[in-house]
Symmetry: C2
């Protein structure tokens, strides 16, 4: 499945990474205008060459026979196939990223330390980013645009199933960059095999950030086998809490959307918590709606006793800490907002948590006290996404608290440096107490 | 050396960390006023109880006999002893942190995603921070104040030599917090032994950030033996580049200060790069000044040939990648700014790099192109420090590019959460294209 390049000689990953590193130094010096123009050209090129992309994708999709043979799931196939409007959408997304405000060279803080001694904290690119992802070829232009917009060199490794599509899209992106001689061709590299990735994992100091997108096990494997900093898609055990002061209609639609709209996503809900005071009115309606949407409900004893006529599956302790990624929802009745907060503290994965209520003070408490990347009021957990947040797109969703939290766009691909301008200033005088800092914010 | 507690029963680290975690949830809800008032009370308490602190410190310093016996170096002893004005300075530093702007609840970005759907990115504490540090007891009030100001619970482990001083200071801090019943006593814990730290390293998910302050080997050990996120003091191979357009007086004072003011610090200079055009005028003067300050000069062949009458030590390849942390400086003559940039790219540790020049465009290039946490123009590398930067103090200096770079103050101890306020909004309509995002920055 590694396509046209499987016959070429084994590539030397260390030299590819070195080329990326050199490219990153040039990328960091490009003007915002150049980076934007290059991205707009890239978008045009994708549209102008849609026949090439679709032909490559058809090659990957010829593996449809494999589906019949049971070697590829229908779900995987759906992610692999580029839909008729898919290329226009890819191009649109690239243009959206192109048009975002330049994330580089922003003065994040400025302080006059003393007369003539000015400190500025300024945003700059991370350097070299590596992303390992699965089937979807539309991820390629997204990642490419986010990396280039933020002045970073990019190493990509996609799923073997999408090899032809990914190679075609990367080739088109690189071709479109030829119009801009100051943009290095080595800004983007597509790695070919799992062995390449394994080699890459050892190149700490050469790669600044590694983003594995895939199963929890895959992310954990990468974290354990590399000393390169990793920002990983973590698991999503998200909750919706229906407070006693919830509006029932909002509670129904937020719950259904959070579960049904795309149950495989990490931001879909796994456990519904219901305040005991609203459960008698809400539970029958939501269970009916969930069942109508083919959702299996796993209920706590109190919920089961409220609906004795229903044959609900009994939830076990295991259910509260399970990410179903499927049309299954566990339901628990709680006595209070406090009990909901405790349950989320104990079982939540700090991804996205939502409260449905018309009581502003309950909402305020929930949003303040829940420790998660996203804390929502009267909104579906499915909004936790870089595109929906207005970040243009996302390189991934971080479950960690350091550097980037939640959906991670171009800002997550930047760091900063402190620029200090002096006039021959030395520390000795301040240490001796003959000069004193002003520390005046500018 | 573990002082008064060495006789007490072995503590259960997991339950201490659990108590810290619970404390962190309460700390996150405190108002900025309460956190500030608690810190001011802490500063007062340190001053009011200086006799107690000095007595405890005298106990540690009784180990002076150990110095005589060669078991403690004079340098370590100097770091251990609290000087007469030391307590007033500790208190002053705590007050400075108390008076910093509140780092919590800051709205870092706000976007109207659509009518009635408002997203805010708001700063919040990390949670539980653990810091493992060496001798200096004045680090305790610094770390305590930074953690409390940023709403984080703190686990501390200091050097065994300073056990009595550290215990006394932590006890006083906790006593002063008793005036504020809403501030949990478990906000601060002092761990007793290396075994406690080893146990702590396994508690991933319970501790949000681990900051080891010590030798490069110690930091690497911690990184390799814990899955808790680590921000470590890295090594500092810092350069000063004397450009051809340098002012000789500034070049002399910046170089001497960068090397001599405190050579053991990670931000002191290790290699001096000199442009060939200014070397004939500058080299004899700087070598004389360095030698007058007892600095050993290790010179490249060109520098040696410029000063044949001097008996300079010849630098080896090894010297360019050595952090001396001592009164030793390697010197290299380069042909151009480009060669200086390449040398720094190859050997620098991305800590702090300084250029001395009157040529603004050379300075601009250096500050833009050098990839380091601190890039300085006409200023000593020794300015790279949280206090000098106006951050109040520092929990450490990060050599990494993620999360916090360079001196790390209260901002580095915060993360953010996305708060989304809706009115029953669901994703399905946007996915179907019946509603469209506005993404209007607020």
């Amino acid at each position: 499945m590694s396509g046209t390049t499987s016959t070429t000689a084994r590539v030397d990953i260390a030299s590819i990474v070195r080329a990326s590193r050199n490219a990153s130094r040039k990328l960091a010096l490009l003007s915002g205008e150049t980076r934007k123009a290059a991205l707009l050209a890239m978008a045009d090129s994708l549209e102008a060459n849609s026949a090439r992309i679709l032909a490559a994708n058809a090659q990957d999709c010829a593996a449809e026979k494999l589906v019949a043979a049971g070697k590829m799931t229908q779900a995987l196939f759906a992610r692999l196939r580029i839909k008729p409007n898919g290329i226009a959408e890819m191009a649109m997304r690239v243009r959206e990223v192109a048009n975002l405000r330049d994330p580089l060279g922003k003065v994040l803080a400025a302080t006059e330390l003393d007369d003539g001694l000015i400190l500025r904290k300024e945003s700059c690119p991370l350097g070299v980013i590596a992303v390992v992802f699965e089937a979807r070829p539309d991820v390629v232009p997204q990642l490419t645009s986010l990396a280039l917009k933020s002045g970073n060199a990019l190493l990509l490794k996609g799923g073997a199933e999408a090899a032809a599509s990914n190679e075609c899209i990367v080739a088109l992106c690189k071709e479109s960059l030829r119009q801009f001689p100051e943009v290095p061709q080595d800004s983007i590299h597509l790695l070919q095999s799992r062995a390449d990735v394994m080699e890459l994992l050892q190149l700490e100091g050469e790669v600044d950030l590694l983003i594995p997108r895939g199963s929890k096990e895959f992310v954990a494997y990468i974290e354990q086998n590399s000393r390169i900093p990793v920002l990983g898609h973590g698991e999503g055990i998200c909750h919706v809490f229906i407070d006693r002061a919830a509006d029932i209609d909002k509670a129904l639609s937020v719950t259904i959307d959070s579960k049904v709209q795309y149950p495989a996503a990490c931001n879909s809900v796994e456990t519904l918590l219901i305040h005991k005071d609203i459960a008698p009115a809400f539970l029958p309606q939501i269970v009916a709606a969930l069942q109508a949407a083919n959702v299996e409900v796993r209920a706590c004893p109190r919920a089961m006793s409220l609906l004795p006529q229903q044959k609900l599956v009994a939830a076990t302790e295991q259910d509260w800490s399970t990410e179903y990624s499927d049309l299954i929802l566990s339901v628990k009745i709680v006595d209070s907002l406090d009990e909901a907060l405790e349950h989320i503290h104990q079982y939540g994965s700090k991804h996205t948590e939502s409260i449905v209520t018309e009581d502003q003070s309950a909402a305020d408490r929930f949003l303040r006290e829940v420790d998660a990347a996203g804390v929502f009021h009267n909104a579906s957990t499915r909004f936790a996404d870089g595109y929906r947040y207005g970040l243009g797109a996302e390189v991934g969703i971080s479950n960690g608290k350091l550097h980037a939290r939640g959906p991670m766009g171009i800002e997550g691909l930047t760091t900063y440096k402190y620029k200090l301008h002096g006039n021959g200033h030395t520390v000795a005088e301040y240490a001796a107490g003959t000069r004193h800092f002003k520390h005046k914010p500018l």
